[in-house]
């Protein structure tokens, strides 16, 4: 299995290296779909230039990276291309290993269930075979490394790639069952861009499941482990934040990074929902709607955790997808991360309702983004509404995609308990509906 992965890695690195050397790199790094004010490489360089001038990079409103990033690139600025390629490689390998481990766990669980004869007899079609599952980790790595979104993001040197690597390592550590490392990487991801905080719940659920601790609020063992994990997470977050403070000896980065993410002052167009909405917002409703939109990202964590408490990895996927749709400065790099998980759920394919439509919309939108941007910004023959319409459509497609997978997952679980071919009372074929 290692050989195909190496091959994929080599191909991915070659593509990136070629693109880095070509004239496209500069074009790509200016694209608003690929870089946001939060993670543009140009702004990292600006931050370093400000440091060189003896000005705090956080005294202005151009640089919004965390101090650790600036510290990292202070040393490796000349090898930035390689750093970003390595980050992509790490993400892919981490996801590969994580999915491999997860599949083993799924298979083991399925075997137990089969042995205990828990599945209805007509569900044999739904049982996953090792042969089907064999290539899934490779597909995940392939989906991540060769996804055009990832490639663009890497070539633009968007620091989103680094955040993805941290999240991938967090997933790997969680699935491997290392609570401490998982907490550290989760803290790092949270530190980089607040939103991964919502991944705390699925990680905790997975680790509990691994330790066979039932999720029961009356059990002290549950509370003990939750507390343990929370302390590890908060402790490492605290250490990282203090470390950042000592690097620049000022707290300026807190408003400049987290205040910037949460209050959305920069309305540069991107593929998200925030920019045009807040450009057109009435001033006295602004604060209210910012709260509503930001809460929206965190809002789904608890109900989803309750609904999917037996399936924390799917919960991780759902959370990452929700973050990348509803976050304040999304880029295509964020989308690439949750799209890498799609091969893991390829057994849900038969239950997806509108995957064809959604894929077509996503593809069409991806092609239309640059076109309408050109018409608005360069040609002047269209206005902002054109680009805005495409972002709306793109987000609707993403929402449909995610909810479709969620639906399919729930439906498969339902079939696994109630049988695949449901019959009505009178014996005729029944249809399933949500009620």
């Amino acid at each position: 299995m290692a050989a195909p992965l190496t091959l994929v890695l080599i191909v991915a690195v070659t593509i990136r290296a070629v693109l880095f050397r070509s004239s496209l790199a500069e074009l790509i790094s200016e694209r608003v779909e690929v870089v946001s004010p939060l993670n543009a490489w140009k702004r990292v360089v600006e931050g370093l230039a400000l440091l060189d001038l003896g000005v705090s990079p956080y005294s202005g409103d151009v640089f919004h990276e965390t101090p650790l990033i600036i510290y990292l690139f202070h040393f490796v600025i000349d090898y930035a291309d390689i750093v970003f390629m390595i980050a992509d490689g790490i993400t892919a390998v981490a996801l590969y290993l994580a999915v491999q481990d997860y599949n083993k766990a799924v298979f083991r669980k399925q075997k137990f269930a089969l042995e205990a004869d828990r599945y209805p007899h007509d569900c044999i079609e739904l049982i996953r075979t090792p042969k089907q599952m064999h290539y899934i980790p490779l597909k995940v790595a392939l989906f991540y490394l060769l996804n055009p979104f990832t490639v663009l993001s890497c070539v633009a040197k968007s620091t989103c790639g680094l955040n993805n690597a941290v999240i991938a390592l967090f997933i790997l550590c969680t699935i491997k069952g290392s609570a401490l490392l998982s907490a550290i990487f989760l803290a790092l991801a949270t530190y980089q861009s607040i939103y991964p905080l919502t991944l705390f719940a699925p990680a905790l659920l997975y680790l509990l499941q691994r330790l066979y601790i039932p999720v029961n609020l009356r059990r002290p063992s549950f509370w003990f482990f939750t507390l343990q994990y929370a302390v590890m997470f908060l402790g490492s977050l605290c250490v990282i934040v203090c470390l950042s403070f000592f690097l620049l000896s000022s707290w300026d980065f807190i408003p400049s990074v987290y205040g910037f993410i949460l209050s959305v002052p920069d309305l540069t167009p991107n593929i998200g929902l925030f920019w045009y909405f807040f450009a057109e917002m009435f001033e006295h409703f602004r604060l209210f709607f910012i709260c509503v939109f930001q809460i929206n990202v965190f809002f789904y964590t608890i109900p989803l955790s309750i609904k999917l408490k037996e399936h924390p990895v799917f919960l991780i996927f759902m959370q990452i997808a929700i973050i990348s749709i509803f976050k304040s400065y999304p880029t295509v790099g964020d989308i690439a991360l949750y799209m890498a998980f799609l091969p893991v759920w390829n057994h849900l394919y038969r239950f997806l309702r509108n995957i064809f439509l959604v894929s077509c919309v996503l593809l069409a939108c991806s092609a239309l983004f640059p076109v309408l941007w050109h018409l608005w910004i360069y040609a002047g023959s269209a206005n902002s509404n054109f680009y805005y319409a495409i972002t709306l459509l793109f987000n609707v497609a993403q929402i449909l995609l995610v909810s479709d997978y969620f639906y399919a997952y729930l439906r498969r679980e339902h079939h696994l308990t109630h049988g695949l071919y449901l019959k009505k009372k009178d014996g005729s074929e029944a249809t399933l509906v949500l009620k």
């Binding site: 400000l50 902002s384 249809t431």
Partner: protein
């Protein structure tokens, strides 16, 4: 570095102090208002003699250094011409003048044997300089100077009695503890390459810079209040000055008056490039003059003519100056200037012929009775033989001054004497050009240009070109760029190149912007190689603003204020020393020091930059549509979270349901 900055400041200061002593004859410092004109004339006569003698002495001493080659000839030819006190651009000379003045006055008092009048507390001087430009246009510059020997900040003593100094400004000084105030309103752009340097340069729009006393604790609060007060006084939109267009330059704007506090915390500088200057700004400006527009030179200031010109700039400068040469106490100086360039074509004439009446539709009839000196100067440097234009009425008085590094000769009309008015009792200076084509002009040594490069509404690049036209001298300039926050500058893209080679600035002060709070401030010290163009480029990104932050005409674009180039420019006089004109050999080996450089401030064009705009007509639609998308997300997840899968029970048909209702009413079990 610091040493250089200090020297810039020092020299700028020295130059301006010398400049302030220009309106020479300190003849009669008594109550001019109460004396008749003939009295004044009597008083002046002996004093002027002294001055002439002194000026002879000075021109002798100066002849050694930088003689005007034409002086002896013209003196011989036109023996009628009388040389007035030469302005010398050196501190020491000014001091000598003051020294000589004192005993002289004592003599006068002794001979008159009247009790000595109380020392003059305030005085007012007015002057008009007319400079014919080579392009055929004409530049008229008014300067009104009110000096008051008082201290606004004396402990326990409130200044309440105002005579010549305008009370409104005095109260502003006291209330806000100002040290210096410089405000200018300009309509049009000064074309340096065609017109040369103006006497006082100003950027298009409104410019305001203020030094506060170091006793002020809340400088920002005082600044905010001050701009609102000034907005009322000058009837201008200075109240639009807020933190987003205010900066604290570290080196470019040093105090011009006495005092050595140079802590930039007490400095505020703001520009409103979009400000439109018109009559409503001129009227309050004229009201500050002691004579208003009733008498003196100010009668010429009629708005219908002044604003029918290609350049108009009016300003007010307040600063503390030395009361005497020892500088033991300070006086306050209010300098009101107004410069205007009349264009041959806009004034609708084909011949190059200018007169006071043509320019201002008024002629001069008297000096302001409150003025201690009132003069009209006409620049005749290029016309010493009368080869370019005819000047009528001719005046015998001549004056020389080193202005902006160049030795200029002026015909002087002293309005406090009856001679210039002649028999008609009115003075209408007429300037008739003999040639019709524009003559060559010495190119200004320092010149700046600016433009925005790039296309599209995403990014762009600001190019600032600084020309050094000096053939062999390099000199440093201070460049100040103030860019609003919505053009996000990327300082790492800053390049400075001259002669297609990198020219690393020796000093950079950069303050990045904060969104909706403060602008970018970039100041740097660049050495300009001789005879070169230095190009400063920096890239920026255009921000998308909230729809309420756009101006009512968003597609017109947004103005970016002029960048400011401050420099000590090697003077033309010094440049001449290398030429092969007739100089005594002993004089021309070393370039004369005190005239080797002069301070000049050059403003570039303001920029007009387009920003991407949202659609202003559809906030409701956007709010509805985006909320719909969020609701789609919320709804679909809510659906899946709260509902469970169930086998669908086909709902009975309408007929069956109706039948069941009837059966229920009848009390029969349903079907």
């Amino acid at each position: 570095m610091a040493a250089y900055r200090y020297s810039v400041v020092l020299l700028a200061f020295a130059l301006l102090v010398c400049d302030s002593t220009r309106a020479t004859p300190k003849s009669d410092e008594g109550d001019t208002a109460e004396k008749t004109k003939s009295d004044i004339a009597d008083d002046i006569a002996p004093v002027e003699d002294v001055h002439t003698q002194k000026s002879d002495a000075v021109s002798q001493t100066q002849a050694g250094r930088t003689p005007n080659p034409e002086t002896p000839e013209s003196m011989q030819k036109e023996s009628l011409r009388q040389w007035e006190a030469t302005e010398i651009n050196v501190d020491t000379n000014a001091d000598v003048q003051g020294d000589e003045e004192a005993p002289d006055r004592r003599d006068a008092e002794a001979t008159d044997s009247v009790p000595p009048p109380p020392p003059p507390k305030d005085q007012f001087q007015e002057e008009l300089v007319i400079r014919p430009l080579q392009s055929g246009d004409i530049y008229a510059s008014f300067q009104f100077r009110t000096r008051w020997d008082t201290d606004f900040f004396q402990q326990g003593k409130k200044v309440a009695h105002y005579r010549l100094f305008p009370k409104s400004l005095g109260q502003v000084i006291t209330k806000f503890s100002l040290r210096e105030l410089h405000i200018s309103f300009t309509q049009g752009y000064w074309r340096t390459m065609q017109w040369g340097q103006p006497f006082l340069s100003a950027p298009p729009g409104a410019e305001l810079w203020v030094w506060f006393q170091d006793t002020v604790t809340d400088v920002d609060g005082a600044w905010k209040e001050l701009t609102n007060v000034l907005s009322g006084i000058f009837c201008a939109s200075l109240n639009f000055i807020d933190s987003t267009n205010t900066v604290q330059p570290s080196a470019s704007f040093k105090p011009l008056g006495v005092g050595n506090v140079t802590d930039q915390r007490f400095l505020r500088y703001a520009v409103l490039p979009r400000e439109i200057v018109c009559t409503e700004n001129l009227t309050p400006w004229k009201k500050l003059l002691p004579c208003g527009s009733k008498a003196g030179l100010a009668v010429l200031l009629k708005s219908e003519k002044l604003f029918h010109s290609s350049f108009h700039s009016q300003s007010v400068h307040i600063r503390p100056v030395c009361q005497d040469w020892q500088c033991t106490s300070t006086a306050w100086e209010l300098r009101q200037t107004l410069g205007v360039v009349f264009d041959m074509h806009t004034s609708g004439q084909s011949r190059r012929e200018w007169s006071l009446f043509k320019m201002f539709s008024r002629t001069l009839t008297e000096a302001c009775p409150l003025a201690s000196s009132s003069k009209v100067y006409v620049d005749i440097t290029d016309n010493s033989q009368g080869e370019l234009f005819d000047l009528t009425p001719a005046t015998p008085t001549l004056s020389q001054a080193v202005v902006l590094g160049d030795r200029r000769t002026y015909s002087v009309y002293d309005l406090t004497t009856p001679e210039p008015f002649g028999t008609l009792r009115s003075l209408n200076i007429l300037l008739k050009w003999k040639t019709t084509e524009a003559a060559d002009m010495l190119r200004p040594l320092l010149h700046g240009e600016r433009y925005v490069a790039g296309y599209g509404l995403q990014t762009g690049e600001i190019h600032t070109l600084i020309y050094n036209n000096h053939p062999y001298r390099a000199f440093p300039v201070l460049l100040l760029e103030m860019v609003p926050w919505y053009l996000r500058l990327y300082i790492h893209t800053l390049t400075v190149a001259s002669k297609s080679r990198e020219n690393k600035p020796s000093y950079i002060h950069y303050q990045p912007s904060k969104d909706r709070l403060r602008p970018h401030l970039l100041e740097m010290l660049v050495q300009l190689p001789p005879n070169s163009v230095t190009e400063v480029t920096v890239q920026f990104e255009r921000a998308l603003l909230k729809w309420t932050e756009y101006t009512p005409d968003p597609n017109h674009g947004f103005y970016v204020g002029s960048s400011v180039i401050s420099a000590l420019v090697p003077s033309v006089v010094a440049m001449d020393t290398n030429s092969t004109k007739e100089h005594p050999l002993f004089s021309s080996f070393f370039p004369c020091k005190e005239e080797s450089a002069y301070f000049v401030r050059v403003y570039t064009e303001p920029l007009l930059v387009n920003l991407p705009t949202p659609d202003f007509s559809m906030p409701y639609n956007v709010i509805c549509l985006t909320c719909t998308v969020v609701a789609v997300g919320y709804g679909s997840l809510y659906n899946l979270l709260t509902r469970t899968f169930q086998v669908e029970e086909p709902s009975p048909g309408l007929a069956k349901r109706l039948a069941n209702v009837i059966r229920w009413l009848r009390g029969v079990p349903p079907l």
